[in-house]
């Protein structure tokens, strides 16, 4: 079952994944007394509501303290208003220079890609191979990150240019845009870091938070994560296709899955034909060298995007949220969750650009539909707000954040320690139990059941 079927109204985030819009008439503060008059009751999609009536906290199994225990309902409401105002400020000043920016980036990326592929026609010569492969790697990264990801978020829809629009864009990635937009914009951005709802927390194959339940298969997650890094675009495609759920019999119906899978396979086919057949054939004697160049460029992009994306929500310091905590969530609370559930990467302008400004993950999650070139100017203001409200603003250099995320992946591959028992001890016991059950199963249980256990 995908989360769409549940009771939150996803349209408020829309396929463009904008920040939910507050209805204009709702900020009802009495001008003379300052008292809030009309209080909207909590409704299922109250993320449109700017009014927070009560402070609620749903504790998590780990018993970690509430990170915002010090804020009152009024504080959260005020926070929501401040962030709305900040968003409005940027929206109001969006204009010709922003449009010129994205057009320039798209143009430069296309020239770089064409130029690099051109150079690679002579990839048999080592300097040409090096220059062409480097250029193609960079072009592919920009295409996925600063252009594809952001265009498909609807960050540039306001330009009304049908060629740069979330509904028409297709990217150089194994995952077709329509599936990616659903799982990323509609699910991940709505349910950010809600345990059991946001599959981006470990992509369904890993445990990246103490409050995710441990099972023995997580022992292999450092290895899966490494593998996923190498083939990341295919990992994304399988994930967006909801392959895992389907295999476990919990996903789409067979018909839908077949149709969707065909779309993915065809897209992968088209990209592979370009990178590993046509371009090499056009390179003539450089055939093999061009194949290698494309493979390396795709690998570089996989490793880079995987690393950057891991930094978004996995590093230490990032908060997760209990499923029940988002029931009737208001705008202020939604904003809070986005801020505490994301982590930034600090670094140079070039680094921000190459990450598609996902290094401004906190700002991006607060305002997913603001043009990416504007996050840098919003960032210090968000940081100031965090300071003022006593909220953690998680950030660090790229190597630091990547290491932190990897550390989580490795440490959390083991279960949480318990008083008097170590992580390793608990894991060993659980594995032992499972092995014994399996052995018993071989003699006593029907076969079908066994293969299920091993799956």
């Amino acid at each position: 079952m995908t989360a769409t079927a549940e009771k939150f109204d996803l349209t408020i985030d829309g396929s463009g994944a904008g920040t939910p819009q507050a209805p204009a008439a709702e900020a009802t503060t009495d001008a003379t007394t300052g008292a809030r008059t009309a209080r909207t009751p909590r409704t299922p999609n109250s993320r449109l509501s700017v009014v927070t009536t009560e402070r609620r906290y749903v504790p998590k199994p780990s018993g970690k303290p509430d990170p915002v225990a010090h804020l009152t309902a009024e504080d959260i409401e005020e926070l929501g208003r401040e962030l709305d105002a900040l968003r409005q400020e940027v929206l109001g000043s969006r204009g010709a220079s922003d449009a010129a920016y994205i057009r320039k980036v798209i143009k430069a990326q296309r020239w770089l890609e064409m130029g690099s592929r051109g150079v690679l026609l002579f990839s048999i010569f080592p300097p040409a191979w090096l220059v062409g492969t480097a250029g193609l790697s960079v072009a592919k990264i920009i295409e996925n990150m600063e252009i594809g990801h952001n265009v498909m978020h609807g960050q540039w829809d306001w330009m009304r240019d049908p060629k740069i629009h979330s509904t028409t864009w297709e990217w150089d990635n194994a995952s077709p845009s329509e599936f990616w937009k659903h799982s990323h914009n509609q699910l991940h951005h709505t349910y950010t870091n809600v345990i059991g709802r946001d599959n981006d927390l470990g992509y369904g194959i890993m445990r990246v938070d103490e409050d995710q339940r441990w099972v023995p298969s997580y022992l292999g997650q450092p290895f899966y994560n490494f593998l996923n890094m190498l083939v990341f675009e295919y990992g994304i495609a399988a994930y967006d296709l909801e392959l895992g759920a389907y295999v476990k019999g919990r996903g789409k119906d067979k018909e839908t899955f077949r149709r969707d899978a065909m779309k993915v396979v065809r897209k992968i086919g088209r990209q592979a034909r370009r990178d590993y057949v046509i371009h090499p054939v056009l390179s003539g004697p450089s055939f093999l060298h061009t194949i290698a160049a494309n493979a390396v460029a795709n690998l570089v992009r996989n490793v880079w995007t995987h690393s950057v994306i891991m930094c978004g929500h996995f590093p230490e310091g990032v908060e997760t949220f209990a499923k029940a905590s988002i029931e009737g969530e208001t705008r202020g609370e939604w904003y809070l969750r986005q801020m505490l559930g994301s982590a930034n990467i600090s670094g140079s302008k070039a680094m921000h650009f190459m990450t598609g400004n996902l290094s401004h993950q906190i700002e991006h999650h607060l305002f997913p539909d603001l043009p990416s070139n504007r996050y840098a100017e919003v960032a210090p203001k968000i940081r100031e707000i965090c300071d003022r409200y006593g909220l953690t603003y998680t950030t660090g250099s790229l190597p630091h954040q990547v290491a932190s995320a990897w550390k989580q992946v490795v440490v959390l591959s083991l279960p949480n320690p318990q008083p008097g028992r170590t992580r390793v001890g608990i894991a060993a016991e659980a594995v032992g139990k499972r092995v014994r059950r399996r052995l018993r199963g071989v003699t006593g249980m029907p076969r079908g059941r066994q293969s299920r256990v091993s799956a």
Binding site: G16, P23, R160, E170, Q271, R273, R274, I278
Partner: protein
């Protein structure tokens, strides 16, 4: 090689080359790359480059445009749509062509008058530089002279309404024996193409009657008979503000010669408002609140929905999309249109406003 097979063989070669090119550029199209090199090439989406901006009056300019290779020409009196980025946002507006129909240099021109608070007209008149690339559409419209040129013609115009008429005069004057132009503008200096019109009048090619409304007041059609005594014998083309055109239609109809009058409207005549409501664009996943006076086209575009459009005033049907559910009101006559998912109804979004919640198939 025999000639009959050469052409098809070349065609298949081209198709094959194209297919290979598509395989190379996937997920984009070859055009996306070719556009970087030559946006005006044959086969590209129709665009134009502004090569000159000529001032006509204080608030009007003529844009001289080099259209892309796909330009198919026009009949004088017709208009084109221009897509221009204002503050980064693509806006489409219609402008009548004022140029010779087949200029040897292949350039075309439109003349734009800035209207108060007008988004696009002010941008074009005050801020547009030569070299700007714009989007274009092929010429269209039936405000043109018939093949059989009428013997006596009256052009009844006001303000920027002179533009399609100028297009006809510049192309067909030699074929017209007797032309009267009755034009209204605030002052003599505000008359767009004033010098050219007066020159034509001086050489006896047309009879020019100017109404300077700042001093003489608005033209009243009561005076028409005194100013153009044979008006009823003339075939008339009228273009100007809504008030003038409404009055003219009434006047000609009252005389029983409604068929001798042709009008070109630059904006729709709005008579009623809808009730407003929530408009859902299901496929693009957008929901917007629209009031009863806002065309669904504007409301959708404002929210970033990609909407097809054309004249934006209810004449070209370029904006038609199915209303899947709910009700809309036609802003021109107040007529209510309702639809259900079983019975979707095509509507013109540029002149329809929400009349309650409705869902558009986009």
């Amino acid at each position: 090689m025999s000639t009959p097979t050469a052409a098809p063989r070349r065609a298949t070669l081209v198709t094959r080359a194209l297919r290979v090119a598509e395989m190379v550029t996937t997920p984009l199209l070859p055009a996306d790359y070719l556009d970087l090199i030559n946006p005006l090439r044959a086969g590209a989406d129709l665009r134009g480059r502004i090569v000159d901006v000529r001032r006509e009056t204080v608030d009007a300019v003529t844009l001289v445009i080099r259209p892309g290779r796909g330009w198919r020409g026009h009949v004088p009196g017709q208009y084109i749509r221009i897509g221009v980025d204002v503050d980064g946002v693509r806006q489409w507006r219609a402008y009548s062509l004022t140029c010779p129909a087949s200029a040897p240099d292949g350039l075309i021109s439109v003349t734009v008058k800035a209207i108060p608070d007008g988004k696009v007209s002010n941008h074009l008149v005050r801020r547009t530089q030569p070299g700007t690339l714009i989007m274009l559409d092929q010429a269209t419209g039936d405000f043109v002279l018939p093949e059989q040129r009428p013997a006596k013609v009256l052009f009844l115009t006001a303000g920027s309404g002179i533009t399609p008429v100028m297009g006809m005069l510049r192309n067909h004057l030699d074929e017209l024996a007797d032309v009267v132009v009755l034009h209204s503008a605030p002052t003599a200096d505000d008359v767009v193409f004033g010098a050219e019109l007066r020159e034509l009048a001086a050489t006896g090619r047309i009879t020019l009657l100017e109404q300077h409304t700042e001093t003489a007041g608005l033209l009243s059609l009561e005076e028409l008979a005194s100013r153009v005594p044979d008006w009823a014998e003339r075939h008339t083309w009228a273009c100007g503000p809504t008030g003038l055109l409404d009055a003219a239609e009434e006047h000609w109809a009252a005389a029983g010669i409604g068929d001798r009058l042709r009008t070109e409207r630059f904006r729709p005549t709005v008579v009623t408002a809808g009730e407003g409501g929530t408009v859902t664009f299901a496929q693009q996943g957008q929901v917007v609140e629209a009031d009863g006076a806002t065309p669904i086209l504007d409301a959708g575009e404002e929210a970033g929905v990609l909407m097809p459009s054309g004249c934006r005033m209810g004449i070209c049907f370029g904006c038609v999309v199915p209303l899947r559910d709910g009700a809309v009101r036609d802003l021109r006559d107040g007529e209510l249109t309702t639809a259900t998912p079983e019975n979707p109804v095509p509507i013109q979004t540029c002149v329809s406003a929400a009349a309650g919640p409705c869902e558009i198939e986009l």
